[in-house]
Symmetry: C2
Subunit: 207 residues, 2 copies
DNA sequence: GCCCCGGGTGAGCGAGCGCTTAGTACGCTG
DNA sequence: CAGCGTACTAAGCGCTCGCTCACCCGGGGC
C-alpha cells in the first residue's frame, strides 16, 4: 500500500480525465507496476490485484495489456509536451523561458518519477504503430526546447556551438532524472529542478 | 545477422576475457538480445538461437538466465570504471581530465550502445545481492568523476555550486546517450563525445 | 415484478516460459 | 582401440503467462 499512498498525493490527480472509475484505478495500478518492475515483468494479475479487482476485470476496460501501456504513454507524453509548451510560450527572455522549461520538466520527472519512468523507458515495449505515434509527440517536445534555444541564439543571449546537439543534451539532463531520482534521497524535486536549470543556462552560455 | 556483424567490430573484442568460446558466444548473444528487447522480454531460447546452439546448451555454461545478466553487468561496469579511472588519473589540468573522462565515457556509451544499454538500464532485473554488488561499482564511477570536479574546485579552475549534484548531472549527460544514440543518426560517437565534453566544461564553469 | 444490460467474478484454456534430464558425439589418455 | 569425461542435443516437465468464457449481481424502464 505504501506505493499507492506515495503516488496518490501528487500523481493520481493527473489521471482525472480517465473514466470510468474502475478504468482509472486499473491505469494507476499499471503505472505503479510498470514503474517498479518494468512492462514485461508485470503480470495482468498483478495490475488487477493492485486495483482490487479480478484478473478478468482488466479486459472489460482494455483490450490488451499493451493498450494500457499505450494509454499511459500517450497521456504522459501529452502532459510532458504541455509542460514544455507552457514554458516555451510564456513571457520573458529566452534564458527565463529555458530555465522555466528545464526546472518544471525536471520537477515532473522527479516528483512523478513513477509515471516518468514508464513514459521514458518503456517505449520499446510498444508495437510499431503505437511507438510511431509516441515518437511524434517526443519530437514535438524536442522542438519546443530547441525553439527556446534558437530564440536565445537569435537574440544574441546564448552562445551555442551545436543547437541540435545541445537540445539533446538538455533533454538528457531532464529525462535521466527519472532514472536516478529517489524520493528518500537528499534532494527535493524543486532543488533538482533549480540545480539543473542553472546547469543548462551555463551549457547555453546565457549572458 | 546484421546485429551480430554490427557489434562484432567494436564490441565483441571487449569480451575476450570470457572463455571458453561457447560461453563467450552465448554472452554476446545475450547482450544483443537484452539490448534489443530487454531482459524480461528475452527468452533463453532466443539467446541460445543467436549463438547457434540449443536451448539446453546455455545451462552448461551458466546456472540461470540471471547469471548471464549479472556477468554482463559486472564486466560492463568494470570497463566503465576503468575508462573513468584512466581519465581521472592521467596527467593534466582538471579541465583536461574532465573533458577526457566525459568524451571517452560518452564514446563508450555511443559506440557500444548495445552493451551500455544493458549495463545502464537492466540493473533492476538483477536480484538484491547482485544489484548491491553492481551499485558499489556504480558509486565508484561517480566518485571518480566527483574527484576530478573537486580537484578543479580546489585548484580554483572550476566554479561549481553543488559538487554532488553537478557530478550527477555530468553522469546523466553521459549515460543518457545510451538511450537516444542511433548508429544511423547524424553523429559519430566521437562527435557526441566532443560536444558533451564541451558542454560539461561549461557546466563546471571551467576557466 | 420482471427483464435486461453493463460491470464484475471464478475457473481455466492454449501457449510459451525457465530449466532439467537422458542420451549422444567426440577427442584425449593408456 | 577400449574407457572416459566434456560439450552438446532432443524431448519434455511443471509452471505461469495473457487472455476468454460461462455465469452472476444490482439498478432502471415498463
Amino acid at each position: 500500500m505504501s506505493t499507492a499512498e506515495e503516488t496518490a498525493g501528487g500523481e493520481t490527480s493527473a489521471w482525472g480525465e480517465v473514466t470510468p472509475d474502475a478504468a482509472r484505478r486499473l491505469l494507476i495500478a499499471a503505472v505503479e507496476a510498470f514503474a517498479e518492475r518494468g512492462y514485461h515483468a508485470t503480470t495482468t494479475r498483478d495490475i488487477a490485484g493492485r486495483a482490487g479487482m479480478s484478473p478478468a476485470a482488466l479486459y472489460i476496460h482494455y483490450k490488451t495489456k499493451e493498450e494500457l501501456l499505450h494509454r499511459i504513454s500517450r497521456i504522459g507524453h501529452e502532459k510532458a509536451l504541455e509542460i514544455l509548451r507552457t514554458a516555451a510560450r510564456r513571457e520573458g527572455s529566452p534564458a527565463e523561458r529555458l530555465a522555466d522549461a528545464v526546472s518544471s520538466f525536471v520537477r515532473w520527472h522527479a516528483g512523478g518519477r513513477t509515471t516518468a519512468r514508464v513514459v521514458q523507458y518503456e517505449l520499446d515495449s510498444l508495437g510499431p504503430d503505437a511507438r510511431d505515434e509516441i515518437l511524434a509527440l517526443r519530437r514535438q517536445c524536442d522542438a519546443e526546447v530547441r525553439g527556446i534555444i534558437e530564440d536565445g541564439v537569435a537574440a544574441g543571449d546564448f552562445d551555442v556551438l551545436d543547437v541540435k546537439g545541445t537540445t539533446l543534451a538538455v533533454m538528457s539532463l531532464c529525462i535521466d532524472v527519472a532514472r536516478w531520482f529517489n524520493v528518500d534521497g537528499p534532494w527535493t524535486p524543486e532543488e533538482v529542478g533549480a540545480l539543473d536549470a542553472d546547469l543548462v543556462l551555463r551549457m547555453v552560455g546565457a549572458k
